[in-house]
C-alpha cells in the first residue's frame, strides 16, 4: 500500500466532489448539463481539450515507448499533435457555428433527423464505449499496481466516481475536473523534466549521449527504428491518428462549451500549445528515464525486468527525481487523469442517448429540458454500469489494441460524414447513413483481418489484411460510400437537402443564427 499516493488521491477526490457540488448548484438547463452553459473561456476550454488528449495512456505509454525504442515514441506523439492545427483550420469554427450540444446536430443540420441522428448516436456510443473499456482496463491495472487495491475495486471506484461527476455536475464538473487534472499533470511533468535536465547539467546533448551510451540499441535510439517502415502503414496510422481525434465525440463536444467561434478558435490555439509543450517534456522524461531509471537496479526485479511492467517508467522516474512524496503525487495524478477522461466519455455517450435518440428521435423535439436531463442522468448510470462490466470482461485484453481500434473507428465512422456535411453540398441523408455504416463495417472487418487481431489475438499464421492500421482504407470506403449514395439519390427529399446547403454554409461561415451562450 502506497499511503502518500492514497492520501493525495483522496485529497483530489474530496476536492473534485466539492467542485461537483458547486457545479450541481449551477446546472439547471439542458445547455448547462451538456455544454456548461456555453460559457467557458478559450483558455479554460483549451486546458480541458489538452487534458482530454494528454491521458494516462499518452503520459505512461509514450514515455514507456521512448524508454524502450527511443525516437519511435516521438512518432506517436507527433501524430496526435499534428491533428490539432488541421482541426482548427477545417472544423472548429464551423462546428461551433452549426451545433448546439452534439456533433450529430451538425451532421443532421439539413438532413433527415431520424436516420442521421440514429447513425451518429450509434457511432458516438460505439466509440465512447470502446474507448471507455480501454481506459477502464488501463485504469484497473494501473490502480492495482500503484495503490495496491484489487482490479475489481479499482474498476468499480473509477465507474462510481465517473457517474457521480457526470450525473450531478454535468459538463461544468466534467470540465473543471479535467482542467484541474491538466494543470496537475502539466506541473508534475514540468517538475520531472526540470529535474532530469538538472541531472544532466541542462544539456540535452549530455542527456542523449548518456542515454545512447547505456541503452541496448546505442545511438539507434536517436533515429526512427522500424515502427513505420512500411509507407502504406505509416500513412494509414498517420491518417488514423490525425482524423481519429477529429472523430472522438467527447472532443467534438468541447467545441460547444464556449460562447462563440472566436473562443472555439482560441481554445484550439491554447490546446495545441499545451499538448505540444507536454510532448516536448515527454522527450526529456523518456530519454532521461533511460539513464535514471534504466541503470538503477532498484527499479528492476530479480529477472532484470522493470518492476510493474514497461508502463511504469514515468512513475519510477518520479520516485527517482522527487522521492516518495512526489511518487505519491504522480500516482494520484495518473489516477485523476483516468477519472477526468472517462467522465468526458460518459457524458458524450449519455448526450447521444438523451439528446440525439430520446429528445430528437423518440420525442421529435417535444421533450422538456428537465426530461432530457433526467434521461441523460439515467443514461450515464447505465453507461457507468456497462463500463464496469465490460472493464471486468476485457481485463486481459491488450489496451494498445483497443485504443488503436477506437481511433481507427472514430476516423472512419464519424469524421468523413461530419466533414462532408459541412463541406459538400451534395451530401444527402442516404449518403450520410451509407458513409457512416461503410466506415464502421470496413474499419471493424479490416481490423479483425489485420495482423493485430488475426495473428496476435486469433493465432492464425498469416493475416488476411497485411496492414495493422485500417484508417487509409476504411476512411476511403466511408467517403466513397457517402459520395456514391448521395450522387445517385434522385429523390425529391435529396434535392431539398442540397437546396438547404446555402443557408447552412452562410451560418457556418458567419455565425449568423448560431446558438449563443446561456445567460445567467
Amino acid at each position: 500500500m502506497n499511503w502518500t499516493a492514497i492520501g493525495m488521491f483522496l485529497l483530489f477526490v474530496v476536492f473534485t466532489l466539492g467542485v461537483t457540488r458547486w457545479a450541481a448548484l449551477r446546472t439547471r438547463s439542458a445547455s448547462d448539463f451538456y455544454t456548461a452553459g456555453g460559457g467557458l473561456t478559450g483558455m479554460q476550454n483549451g486546458l480541458a481539450i489538452a487534458g482530454d488528449m494528454i491521458s494516462a495512456a499518452s503520459f505512461l505509454g509514450i514515455s514507456a515507448m521512448m524508454f524502450l525504442n527511443g525516437y519511435d515514441g516521438l512518432l506517436y506523439a507527433l501524430g496526435v499533435l499534428a491533428g490539432w492545427p488541421i482541426i482548427l483550420f477545417l472544423i472548429a469554427e464551423r462546428l461551433r457555428n452549426l451545433g448546439k450540444y452534439t456533433f450529430a446536430d451538425v451532421v443532421s443540420y439539413r438532413l433527415a433527423q431520424t436516420p442521421v441522428r440514429l447513425t451518429s448516436a450509434f457511432g458516438t456510443l460505439t466509440v465512447a464505449l470502446l474507448y471507455l473499456v480501454a481506459q477502464m482496463v488501463g485504469a484497473g491495472k494501473l490502480i492495482e499496481l500503484l495503490f495496491g487495491i484489487s482490479y475489481l475495486y479499482a474498476v468499480m471506484l473509477v465507474g462510481v466516481l465517473m457517474v457521480f461527476y457526470v450525473t450531478f455536475g454535468g459538463m461544468l464538473a466534467t470540465t473543471w475536473v479535467q482542467i484541474i487534472k491538466a494543470v496537475m499533470l502539466l506541473s508534475g511533468t514540468t517538475f520531472m523534466a526540470f529535474m532530469v535536465l538538472k541531472h544532466f547539467g541542462f544539456s540535452t546533448e549530455a542527456m542523449f549521449a548518456s542515454a545512447a551510451a547505456v541503452h541496448a540499441k546505442g545511438t539507434a535510439i536517436m533515429a526512427p527504428g522500424g515502427l513505420l517502415s512500411n509507407p502504406v502503414d505509416a500513412i494509414s496510422l498517420g491518417l488514423g491518428m490525425m482524423f481519429g481525434t477529429a472523430g472522438l465525440p467527447h472532443i467534438l463536444m468541447r467545441f460547444f462549451t464556449v460562447s462563440d467561434a472566436k473562443e472555439a478558435r482560441k481554445s484550439v490555439f491554447y490546446a495545441t500549445g499545451f499538448i505540444g509543450y507536454f510532448y516536448l517534456l515527454l522527450i526529456v522524461i523518456g530519454f532521461g528515464a533511460i539513464v535514471m531509471v534504466g541503470t538503477e537496479p532498484a527499479y528492476r526485479d530479480a529477472s532484470g525486468a522493470i518492476i510493474g511492467g514497461g508502463n511504469m517508467i514515468a512513475v519510477h522516474l518520479a520516485q527517482a527525481v522527487g522521492g516518495n512524496l512526489f511518487l505519491g503525487f504522480i500516482s494520484a495524478v495518473a489516477f485523476a487523469t483516468i477519472l477526468a477522461v472517462v467522465a468526458g466519455l460518459a457524458l458524450s455517450g449519455a448526450s447521444a442517448v438523451s439528446h440525439d435518440i430520446y429528445a430528437c428521435v423518440v420525442r421529435k423535439g417535444k421533450a422538456s429540458e428537465q426530461e432530457e436531463i433526467r434521461v441523460s442522468r439515467v443514461a450515464t448510470l447505465v453507461i457507468g454500469v456497462l463500463a464496469i462490466i465490460l472493464g471486468l470482461m476485457f481485463e486481459s485484453q491488450n489496451i494498445a489494441f483497443l485504443s488503436g481500434l477506437v481511433l481507427a473507428i472514430a476516423a472512419s465512422v464519424n469524421f468523413p460524414v461530419l466533414f462532408l456535411s459541412m463541406f459538400w453540398k451534395g451530401l444527402t441523408t442516404r449518403g450520410a447513413v451509407a458513409g457512416s455504416l461503410a466506415g464502421l463495417v470496413s474499419a471493424v472487418i479490416l481490423l479483425v483481418l489485420s495482423p493485430v487481431v488475426w495473428v496476435n489475438v486469433l493465432h492464425h499464421d498469416k493475416a488476411l489484411f497485411p496492414y495493422s492500421n485500417p484508417a487509409l482504407f476504411s476512411m476511403s470506403a466511408a467517403f466513397l460510400a457517402a459520395w456514391a449514395f448521395s450522387v445517385t439519390d434522385r429523390s425529391a427529399q435529396a434535392s431539398e437537402e442540397r437546396g438547404r446547403y446555402l443557408a447552412q454554409f452562410i451560418r457556418s461561415m458567419t455565425g449568423i443564427g448560431a446558438a449563443g451562450a446561456a445567460k445567467h
Binding site: Y71, L74, L75, L78, G79, L81, A82, W84, P85, I86, L88, F89, L90, T204, E205, F208, A209, A212, T219, A220, M222, A223, P224, G225, G226, L228, S229, N230, P231, A234, I235, G238, M242, K262, R265, K266, V268, F269, T272, G273, G276, Y279, L280, I283, L502, A503, I506, R507, M509, T510, G511, I512, G513
Partner: protein, 102 residues
C-alpha cells in the same frame, strides 16, 4: 433566415470576400500542415537514416531537431491562423453581420 435573406447575404460582396479570404487562409495553412507532417512520415518510411544523422557531430540527431520543429511549427501555424482570423476575418465578418442584419 428567409430565402430572400439568404439570397441577399450570399450575393453580398463583403460576404463573398469573407468566404474567399477564409478559404485562402484555411486552405494554405491546412496544406502547409499536411506537407510538414506527411513529409515527415514519408521521410521516416523511406529514409530513416537521414533523420538518424548526427546534427553537429554529437549524439543529438537531425530527427530530434525535426521532431521539435514540427511541434513548434504546429503551434506557430495555429498562432498565425488565430492572429489573421482575429485581425482580418473577424472585422469583415462583423461587417457582414451588421450589413445583412434583418
Amino acid at each position: 433566415m428567409t430565402p430572400s435573406h439568404i439570397e441577399s447575404i450570399s450575393n453580398h460582396p463583403d460576404f463573398q470576400q469573407l468566404v474567399r479570404r477564409k478559404r485562402r487562409l484555411n486552405g494554405s495553412l491546412t496544406a502547409a500542415m499536411l506537407v510538414i507532417y506527411y513529409g515527415f512520415v514519408l521521410l521516416v518510411a523511406f529514409s530513416p537514416s537521414t533523420l538518424g544523422q548526427s546534427l553537429s557531430g554529437g549524439v543529438t540527431s537531425v530527427g530530434m531537431l525535426v521532431g521539435v520543429l514540427i511541434v513548434l511549427l504546429s503551434f506557430a501555424l495555429t498562432g498565425i491562423y488565430v492572429y489573421r482570423a482575429n485581425n482580418v476575418l473577424d472585422p469583415l465578418n462583423d461587417k457582414v453581420k451588421q450589413e445583412c442584419a434583418q
